[in-house]
């Protein structure tokens, strides 16, 4: 019996050779579904004619937990969503609560936040590049990427003591003053980093096999991308010039000059090129920011006990994976009434079925990789 839950199921006589379809279960334990994503594939030979993503294996009820924690207590939880880019998650949450409080972080805190968030974007993209290349069969770039990511994680460790789930920021600013060598460390990392990106590109960008595996795979036109609500590099690779850092500046992004790279065809190759260029742009932002870190306090005027006035707020930031939004309702107590998180990974994953249909099994891993999903964020 064909599984009716898979949309647009075709029947045996509609396959090319009139053979039976195969239903292939990829995941939740599979080397390249990036965690615990389960994909049910409907195959005609090796051709994918339908797919369904089964998610929820990593569901921890983060949004529900928020309702039983104070605003401050909940902050570390958001680091566990997109654990590859914990700093960005924290920034979004802190700024959303600040907006709700009507407070603002002082300029020094905002600049340091910007530096760390951009480093986190580089780290996240590096990890994406390594695993994406590994999925497509290139073993070596992963180790080069991790080598550079390690340097970023060391900076995080020096700054706040943690490498992965950092909880680097506090609501209202920063808890700790930046350590003395921060500028030097960031400069030491950023100055040679564009050569490192060139190195990755020399392995992949003009490699015939890489181009063959990514060009024309998983095409998403600009209209489709907008219709699916895609954001981040997935949207920009389709040619839509939309970046929240420019459109609705937060932290200190309005002070710096940077480009928004966009693609043309919206295929896997364009998404690769866009992300590579974003790493170079993030490097430029970091270099601009360390030139002039304003002196002054690091904590804004927020009380010890946070009691925002009743009301609601939506605040979105440009996380490495796309638009990360926090919608918080306050009822005037110390605990949020409701926290709703807009995870970019989940909403980008919606387009998976559209992108994979008609491609081959080998392209499944390429498309999962190019969407840059983190299951912690998809399931929350």
């Amino acid at each position: 019996m064909p599984d009716e839950r898979i949309p647009f199921a075709t029947h045996a006589d509609q396959t090319v050779l009139g053979a039976d379809e195969i239903i292939l279960n990829m995941g939740p334990q599979h080397p390249s579904t990036h965690g615990v994503l389960r994909v049910k594939l409907r195959l005609d030979g090796e051709k994918v004619i339908g797919s369904e993503c089964v998610i929820g294996y990593l569901h921890r009820g983060v949004e529900k937990i928020a309702e039983h924690r104070t605003y401050t207590q909940f902050a570390p939880y958001v680091d566990r969503m997109d654990y590859v880019a914990a700093v960005s998650n924290g920034l979004g949450y802190c700024e959303a609560v600040e907006k709700l409080l009507g407070a603002e972080a002082p300029p020094r805190a905002r600049v340091i936040r910007t530096i760390l968030t951009e480093l986190q974007r580089i780290a996240s993209h590096l990890f994406w590049l390594g695993t994406h290349a590994l999925d497509i069969g290139a073993l070596t770039p992963l180790f080069y990427c991790l080598r550079e990511r390690e340097e970023i994680l060391k900076i995080f460790e020096k700054f706040c003591g943690a490498r992965l789930t950092t909880h680097a920021f506090r609501i209202g600013g920063l808890q700790y003053e930046a350590y003395d060598e921060l500028e030097k460390d960031v400069e030491r990392f950023c100055t040679p980093f564009d050569k490192r990106v060139d190195e990755y590109e020399s392995l992949l960008t003009e490699n015939r096999i890489w181009v063959g595996r990514t060009k024309g795979i998983g095409i998403l036109t600009a209209k489709e991308a907008i219709d699916y609500g895609a954001s981040g590099p997935v949207l920009r690779a389709s040619g839509v010039k939309w970046d929240i850092r420019k459109a609705m500046p937060y932290a200190a992004y309005d002070q710096y000059k940077f480009e928004i790279p966009t693609g043309k065809n919206g295929d896997t190759y364009d998404r690769y090129i866009v992300r590579m260029e974003e790493m170079r742009q993030s490097r430029l932002i970091c270099l601009q920011a360390i030139e002039n870190i304003p002196a002054g306090p690091i904590m804004g005027k927020v009380g010890k006990v946070l009691k925002p006035p009743p009301g609601e707020v939506y605040h979105a930031i440009e996380a490495p994976k796309g638009e990360l939004g926090y919608y918080i309702i306050s009822d005037g107590t110390t605990q949020p009434y409701r926290v709703r998180i807009r995870p970019p990974s989940l909403i980008n994953l919606e387009a998976f079925d559209k992108m994979i249909r008609g491609h081959l099994v080998a392209d499944v891993v390429a498309i999962i990789g190019t969407l840059d999903i983190v299951l912690g964020e998809v399931d929350r």
């Binding site: 195969i22 292939l24 599979h30 390249s32 180790f143 096999i209 024309g216 008609g358």
Partner: protein, 440 residues
């Protein structure tokens, strides 16, 4: 009388000893090729690789083998048990049998067959049955897809590899491995230089034949988990692994025999390069000295001692390789030098060929199945046919029209390269016409 007895003993016992050596030593060799691969991979990826078991991980293959032997042997409930049990044996038998006709140095050969190369190619192609049957009998979708990919890939690339071999055979005029190498001695150049395009085709096709990256689709770990081996565990899995690495040795040996002059020293016919005779001993000495240099730096005393033992063994090999160079020994036992040094050069060339495999594996992403097929049928097979015709033309020009080797082979190589350029251009044009839109 004495000579007759000696001849009889040699004709019976040498092949037998060689066979025992192959069956007993080849698993070990395969294990150490794995170690070499991990070390090469680590080197290219800015890390160290195995370092724990023995100094620099030198005992890692043995630890792995013991682990695989004592692992639980799991057979899936729904598997076709007899075939599941039998399939890895087919693969490993075929791979080992193919070694029997190879000549590693003028002494070391189990069977001197007049159809040597044909036998090797035919027998090693049987290994595909093990893969297809194993994949089918596992009763798993991943295994089945892996087995089907493997069958299609083998059929396609066996053709191209076969045609590339035909090119070499035309030059040699014989199928016997021994005579092929002697023919290269007569020509004065290795066939890799007389037919570079054929050599290139053989490199590509042999990578595909042994299921190595970038053509490792049957076991693409990021797509099909482990392809046809997904349901195998323990020693049965180890047998597939052994077959894969033995196949690598086989194709490297074929390439060495046919294209790289087999056991011949580089510039074997030129007395000016006779100083290369010292190269084997010197290389071994350098490696041995490096072992001694590393020995005090080992973390544990046992490891230091082991390292010294390894260094001593390598220096012993250096001395053995140096013995035939003593003039008195050379006149007393004239067969000693070609035997020992031939084996050294053969293994060195085969090792470099395997190193090339590894290098490619860590550099390139994986092909997709349709791209693999397109490369095979639209590029390699037509090109290999053109290559055979080109070599035929060169031989006619040389033998009947009196052209020199350089002119004849230079001209035909250029013609073949032109054909390759045309095929590449036409293939690219065709690709552009069939843009994959991504719609069912």
């Amino acid at each position: 009388m004495l000579m007759n007895v000696l001849h009889f003993v040699i004709s019976i016992w040498v092949p037998l000893v060689c066979a025992v050596i192959i069956v007993a030593v080849l698993p070990l060799v395969a294990g150490y090729i794995v170690l070499m691969e991990r070390k090469v991979m680590a080197d290219m990826q800015a890390r160290l690789g195995p370092m724990r078991v023995g100094p620099h991980g030198l005992l890692q293959p043995i630890a792995d083998a013991v682990k695989l032997l004592i692992k639980e042997d799991i057979i899936p409930d729904d598997a076709d048990k007899l075939i599941f049990w039998f399939a890895p044996l087919i693969s490993v038998t075929a791979a080992m049998l193919a070694m029997s006709a190879l000549a590693i140095g003028p002494w070391f050969q189990i069977a001197e067959l007049n159809i040597g190369l044909l036998f090797i190619v035919g027998i090693s192609a049987l290994g595909i049955f093990g893969i297809v049957l194993g994949g089918w009998s596992s009763n798993s979708h991943y295994s089945l897809l892996g087995a089907l990919r493997s069958a299609a890939q083998l059929v396609s690339y066996e053709t191209a590899a076969g045609m590339a071999i035909v090119g070499g055979l035309l030059l040699a005029g014989t199928l016997s491995t021994r005579e092929i190498i002697e023919a290269q001695n007569d020509y004065g150049v290795w066939f890799a230089f007389a037919a570079p395009v054929g050599f290139f085709i053989y490199i590509v096709a042999s990578i595909a034949e042994t299921n190595r990256a970038p053509f490792d689709l049957p076991e693409a770990e990021s797509e099909l988990v482990a392809g046809y081996m997904t349901e195998y565990s323990g020693f049965r899995w180890a047998l597939y692994f052994l077959a894969e690495y033995t196949n690598m040795v086989v194709v490297a040996s074929i390439a060495t025999t046919l294209f790289l002059g087999g056991w011949l020293r580089p510039f074997a016919g030129t007395p000016a390069f006779n100083f290369l005779d010292f190269f084997p001993s010197l290389l071994m000495l350098v490696i041995g000295a490096y072992c001694f240099y590393r020995a005090p730096k080992q973390p544990v005393k046992v490891q230091s001692l082991f390292m010294i033992a390894v260094g001593l063994l390598i220096i012993l090999a250096a001395i053995i390789l140096a013995v035939p160079l003593i003039p008195a020994v050379g006149t007393m036992l004239p067969g000693l030098k070609p035997g020992l040094h031939g084996a050294f050069w053969f293994l060195l060339k085969a090792g470099l060929y395997i190193y090339l495999f590894m290098w490619l594996r860590f550099t390139f992403p994986r092909y997709r199945f349709d791209q693999l097929m397109r490369l095979g049928w639209q590029f390699l097979i037509p090109l290999s046919i053109v290559n055979v015709m080109g070599i035929g033309l060169a031989l006619v020009l040389h033998r009947h029209w009196g052209w020199g080797h350089l002119q004849a082979f230079g001209l035909t190589t250029l013609l073949t390269l032109a054909a390759a350029g045309y095929l590449g251009w036409a293939g690219e044009k065709k690709d552009k016409e069939h843009v994959f839109v991504g719609e069912a």
